[in-house]
Each structure stands twice: as structure tokens, then as C-alpha cells.
């Protein structure tokens, strides 16, 4: 066995949250200026069936390979699939009514501190409980008890009036509300807490799927790292962190220690890098890296979608989980000795960045750009942006790789488009910040190496610390995942 670590298993889930779109950052701000937008937004929400019957979503949960997207021209919305299913090889696409159950389980009615969400009694009895009846991960009696009996619509309305709780909807009906955690604390206002709880709940779902796929008990996990995009905290520490603890607690990982890694969109890759380093020391053997979804990004491009009379495509949150262990002799290895880095001094010069994260690490190990079979950059679904006149994000991030290969003399200028088409993964993930940042391809990519004779893939993520206004700098990182040397009998490079 080598000294490398591996991603031994993974999961990817989507949660359909159409009636949370109103609480996404962009819709919330626009609705405050123009409440009449509510009607328009509501009339452009996709039903769950169409979320299932959509190739990019099926790719995300592992039921189709990203390469299939290249065989279909946009619009993908109009392309109906043979047998779209909610269950994926890598996870699932959960409907909204089940997510309400998960949210309720994530809070705890028995504790006055965390009695954060009220659901209407009939909604619970007639919709939520029947909906989760067959879900393999939602049958734990203790957790189901947390759903409780619910409240009357009168109590809910009163709470909204008295305590400014956020109204919650299902099929346009008021069915609950989400409370603040403190009267004055900005960090504990209802829309912030709803955001944080949604991240927690979706991360738990992803983690449960990963444990099932890996066939291990929650008790086997000894470290959980959350790389989610949220800011759990309170008035004295607005980004206090350790959401990993909440995620691990709800999943039953009683033997795990926990902490968070934050680096904007590059969070997941940095978290994997950290897990890799820790596994190398030997003390921690099964590390879960989890990323919950981002409610704030729901409806981000809603204005463009309304303008084109398209359904609002930012109606899903995504979550993922990875299991990192030492080399198991079979899984492709994480070449963190070839980590593509973007030190501060590189600044924002595009050429220097791409050389630093792609060219230099490969060159140092005697490899060419064309020795990498597939590159996965930001993988946002282009159908969200291109029809409304905005850029194809994966394409814009992939082109410079091809230009680098041309500059290095590995391909001709006329081969740039072929390079992109053959080696750069098409986008298929929701715009969820950290979720699409290269990592949605990891599961497919590992399978490409194990079963489809590929040698190595490169996952690339870009972070945007400049958005916080504390710096003008961008950030990026890349990670090569490579065929396990044990499988090919020895030679490490090329």
C-alpha cells in the first residue's frame, strides 16, 4: 500500500425546495422592494416530477455520466428521460415535504432553545408522515418523535404576528413557521437560522447516504469536517462554526470529533486536503467530509428565468459527503503531493494562476497537461445561465486549461475546442457555491478510473475571498486523483 489517502466512498443529494426560493438572498431582497413578484415567482416553480425528469440532476445523483450532456444540445429542460427516478446510485433527489420532516428532526421541540420550526398538525399527519414512511433513513423512532404533533394554524399565525417568525409554505398554503433564536441577535434571526438548519439537514442526508453506500456504521467515523457555505454562530461570533458537530450528532456519529473548514467555494477541496493530511498521521482512520446545501443561493437567477418565461432553475439545494481513508489498495489515490496551489503572491493574474494550479504541479512530477484524462472545474449547470445571456461557467473556466496546453505546445490552436469537448467536464450542478466547485465529478471520476480505464483526473476549485471585502484576492486549488499504483503494478508516474 502507498502512503496516499483515498476517497473510498461518496454521496450526492439534491433537495427540491421550491417554496424556499422566496428565502433565497436575491428573491428575498427583490420581494422586499416589490411584493407583487411573489405571484410571478410562484407561477414559475417546477413541480417535483420535472426536477426528477431532468438530465443534469440525474447526473448529479449518479444515474447518468456527465459525458451524456455533451450529446444533448440545450435546452435540456425539454428533453424527457426514459425512467427518471428519485433514487440515484450516489444519493437521491428529495421532495420538499420530506425535507420539512428532516428540518423538524434537525431542530428539537423538546428543547425550548431549539424549538425553531412549527409545522401545522394536519400537514404533519396527512402529508409529512405518509411521505417519509418509506424513506430508509427517516425511520428512527427517536428522530420521528421530534416531528411532534404540530401546531394549529391559529397558533402559527399568532407566532408569525407576535414573534416575526418566517411563514413556511407547501403548495402555496401556509403550513408552518420558522422562529428566531433570540430577539436582538442578528445571527439568530429566522432567515439566518433557516439557512443554517437547511445546511445541517441536507448535510445529514448526504452523510447518511454515504454511510449506507460505504456499508459502515456512524460509530465508525472518527472525524467529521464540514465544508458547508453558511455562517452558524451568534452575536459574539457570527461565524463560530463547527456545524460538523451538529451534523455528526444528528447522524449518530458518537465517536467522531468535529470541525469546519471554510474557504468559500474552494472549501470542499481544502477539506479533502486537510482530511488527507490527517489520515496520513494514522490516528484517524475514517474521515467524513460533508457539505450541506446553501439556501441563500436559491433563486439567484430568478429574474433572468422570469424574463425568459423559464421555470426558476435555482429551486434545489445540493449536498455531498466523502469518506477519506488510507490507501485501500483499490481506490484511486489522492495525489496531494501534486496539489495545485495558488499562493497569495500570485495575485489575480489569470495566466499565473493557471500555471500555478495546473501546469507547475504536473510538470514537477514529469507530467504534461495532456496526461490528465479529465478536468473538472466549476460545474454549474449552463442551462441556468446561458439562456438568460450569462456565461457558461464551466466552459469559461475550462478554456484557459486548453490555452495552457496550446502554449506548452501539446496541442494546436485549432485543437482548443476539441480539448475542451473531450477533456473538460460539462456543467450539471446547481449554483450552490461550494457544491459545484469541481467536486460533483469526483464520484464519476473515480468510477472513470476504476471501470473505464482512465488514468488520472484533476479537480479544480476557485474561491472568492474578495467577496467578503477583506481582500481583493481570488483563490484556487487543484487535486489530481490517480489510478491506484497497486492496480497497475508499480510505476507511479505516467
Amino acid at each position: 500500500m502507498t502512503e496516499y489517502a483515498v476517497i473510498k466512498n461518496w454521496s450526492y443529494v439534491l433537495v427540491h425546495t421550491p417554496e424556499f426560493v422566496r428565502y433565497g438572498s436575491k428573491p428575498m431582497r427583490e420581494l422586499a422592494k416589490n411584493p407583487a413578484l411573489e405571484k410571478e415567482i410562484n407561477s414559475h416553480l417546477r413541480p417535483y416530477e420535472l426536477v426528477l425528469d431532468y438530465l443534469p440532476n440525474q447526473v448529479f445523483i449518479g444515474n447518468a455520466h456527465p459525458k451524456q450532456l455533451r450529446t444533448l444540445s440545450l435546452p435540456w429542460l425539454h428533453h424527457s428521460l426514459a425512467n427518471p427516478t428519485r433514487w440515484g446510485r450516489f444519493g437521491e433527489i428529495m421532495p420538499q415535504e420530506e425535507f420539512y420532516a428532516l428540518l423538524k428532526m434537525a431542530s428539537d421541540e423538546t428543547s425550548s432553545d431549539r424549538d425553531l420550526i412549527w409545522l401545522e398538525e394536519k400537514f404533519i399527519q396527512e402529508i409529512v408522515l405518509p411521505a417519509i414512511n418509506n424513506h430508509p433513513f427517516l425511520q428512527n423512532t427517536d428522530e420521528k418523535t421530534k416531528i411532534g404533533q404540530g401546531k394549529s394554524i391559529k397558533q402559527i399565525n399568532q407566532k408569525i404576528t407576535d414573534s416575526k417568525s418566517l411563514p413556511l409554505f407547501y403548495q402555496k398554503n401556509l403550513i408552518g413557521c420558522f422562529h428566531r433564536g433570540h430577539e436582538e441577535d442578528e445571527s439568530l434571526q429566522p432567515h439566518i437560522l433557516l439557512e443554517n438548519m437547511s445546511t445541517k439537514a441536507s448535510a445529514v442526508l448526504a452523510l447518511k447516504h454515504m454511510l449506507k453506500r460505504a456499508d459502515i456504521s456512524p460509530l465508525d467515523i472518527d472525524l467529521i469536517i464540514s465544508c458547508s457555505e453558511e455562517a452558524v454562530g451568534e452575536r459574539y461570533q457570527r461565524g463560530g462554526g463547527n456545524l460538523a458537530r451538529a451534523i455528526g450528532d444528528m447522524t449518530g456519529c458518537k465517536n467522531a470529533i468535529t470541525f469546519d473548514v471554510k474557504a468559500f467555494c474552494a472549501g470542499p477541496l481544502y477539506a479533502i486536503f486537510v482530511a488527507d493530511s490527517i489520515v496520513a498521521r494514522g490516528q484517524f482512520k475514517k474521515i467524513a467530509v460533508v457539505g450541506g446545501g446553501s439556501l441563500a443561493k436559491l433563486g439567484m437567477k430568478f429574474q433572468g428565468h422570469l424574463g425568459k418565461n423559464m421555470p426558476i432553475l435555482d429551486d434545489i439545494i445540493g449536498a455531498l459527503a466523502f469518506l477519506i481513508t488510507k490507501d485501500d489498495g483499490a481506490s484511486p489515490v489522492l495525489r496531494t503531493d501534486m496539489l495545485g496551489t495558488h499562493p497569495i503572491g500570485i495575485g489575480n493574474n489569470l495566466q499565473k494562476i493557471y500555471e500555478s494550479i495546473i501546469l507547475n504541479p504536473l510538470k514537477k512530477h514529469g507530467l504534461k497537461i495532456t496526461d490528465v484524462d479529465y478536468f473538472a472545474t466549476q460545474l454549474e449547470n449552463p442551462e441556468i445561465t446561458v439562456p438568460i445571456g450569462q456565461k457558461d461557467i464551466p466552459l469559461e473556466n475550462s478554456r484557459p486549461i486548453a490555452v495552457l496546453a496550446f502554449q506548452q505546445g501539446e496541442i494546436n490552436k485549432t485543437q482548443i475546442n476539441d480539448f475542451i469537448r473531450e477533456r473538460c467536464i460539462q456543467g450539471f450542478a446547481p449554483i450552490q457555491g461550494h457544491i459545484p466547485a469541481g467536486v460533483p465529478y469526483i464520484g464519476h471520476g473515480i468510477e472513470d478510473i476504476i471501470s473505464r480505464c482512465k488514468k488520472r483526473i484533476m479537480i479544480i476549485a476557485k474561491g472568492s475571498p474578495f467577496l467578503s471585502r477583506t481582500t481583493d484576492l481570488a483563490d484556487s486549488i487543484s487535486l489530481v486523483i490517480e489510478q491506484n499504483p497497486t492496480n497497475k503494478g508499480g510505476a507511479q508516474n505516467a
Binding site: 440545450l74 435546452p75 424574463g307 425568459k308 493574474n349 489569470l350 495566466q351 493557471y354 446561458v386 439562456p387 438568460i388 445571456g389 450569462q390 456565461k391 466552459l395 469559461e396 478554456r399 484557459p400 490555452v403 496550446f406 502554449q407
Partner: protein
Amino acid sequence: MSQENVARIAEEQNKDNLIAIWGISDIQPLIIGAITINKGDCFGFSGALANKELGLKSYHVLEPEIIAAIPQTIYAQEIMFIELSKDPSKLQMIFEIMRALRDSATLDKLMSKIENHDESSGPLMNEILKSVNPKFALPK
């Protein structure tokens, strides 16, 4: 807010010698910005440039005449890679749009289209794009 600062600086400077140069390559914000800084805010952002015509012309930094004015060493070290990394047909589209928006006759025609636009005939941005070149219409 963006519009206030721009209005203030424009008042302070000699407008004959003042231009705007854009680094953004998203076409819609680029069009909105270039029109706003020339003819005023007609897109409803209700900023300081509503009803204020500054008359400033806009260029995209990658347009040939701007590139030609920048020293070769800087171009080679910093700009060429960025230029090569952009979709060439998209760049051509940006250049054609920026040229059109600098042409007074074209811009005046466009302004009357904007003022008389009826949303039921389709999104305003699509009308603007089609006016510059019918091939630029947004995908259906």
C-alpha cells in the same frame, strides 16, 4: 452607490476627455452599463443617473484599439492569456455591441426602442441585442 460616484466624477471632469472602460464580459450588465453611462439610467434602477445623460462612451478593454494602446510587454504577460481564454465568437459579439453603442445614430434608435418597449413582445434585452445584430438574439 455606483451611480452617484460616477455622476459626481463625470461632473468634475472634462467630458471630452473622459471615457469608460469595462472589464466585465457578461453581455447584459455590459450593455446596461454602457447605455446608462451614456444616456442615463433607463432600466429602472432609480439611481443618480436616472434622467441624467453623461454622454460618456464605453470600450471593452479587449477591443483592438484599447489593446493597441497598451504596452506590448504588459499585453504579453497579462492580457494575451485572458484574451485567448475567451470564446472568440463571444469576443466579436462584445466588440460589435460596444461599437454600436458608441455610434450616436445607432444609440438614438436604440433609445427610442427602449422607451417604447412593451414586455409582451419579449424581453427588452433581446430587443436590444437583435437591434445590434439579428444573430445576437438570445436562445429560445
